[in-house]
Symmetry: C2
């Protein structure tokens, strides 16, 4: 283990998909909105991570999008959850709950 930031990065792996689906589930958003909301939740993500992830979720059929013009720059891609995305999110939430409880039970025994 080298330092705190690497540690955080490792622990975060795999959670980003859940976090992004949660953000999108609140309403139509484009990439910068997502980055901002994740930052507000202390789940910092960078562009190089987010864009490929959004593409994967779109290819999987979990997300859809429409282009929308902006008054202050180039057009934006606004994403929404599809039916499949809603179902995926609900499964991920279940998985998250189980995993979280597993870790917390290990912590309790340790204490």
């Amino acid at each position: 283990m080298k330092d705190a930031s690497e540690q955080k990065s490792q622990l975060r792996k795999g959670l980003l998909e859940l976090a992004v689906l949660l953000v999108v589930s609140r309403g139509s958003v484009y990439a910068s909105d997502i980055l901002k909301q994740l930052k507000d939740s202390d789940l910092l993500v960078v562009e190089g991570t987010l864009y490929p992830l959004l593409s994967r979720l779109k290819d999987d059929g979990s997300l859809g999008y429409q282009w929308q013009e902006s008054k202050s720059g180039p057009p934006r891609k606004y994403y929404q959850l599809t039916k499949k995305g809603e179902s995926d999110l609900s499964q991920l939430l279940q998985t998250w709950t189980n995993l979280s409880q597993s870790i917390n039970s290990l912590i309790k025994i340790t204490k």
Copy 2:
């Protein structure tokens, strides 16, 4: 997203190091002990994942070990936390707590 097992695997990435350190922190154990305890906590890990992880933790100075003979087979490597390992674990626990709260706060807002 393809299926539930892949989903689970993705979400679990990065948590295994924390889980293993937690198990070892309870006392001297060898690989099969760790596998069994993680299985009991529904955090299934396979040998091909655990052995490289133990080697990494040893190389990082977080774990130490001694060989110990067994009456029922080849000798075993018993692992313990080093001082550094204890410090790493405590940092990881802090990171876990923060991350967990971040995700849970996103969930609450969504609901």
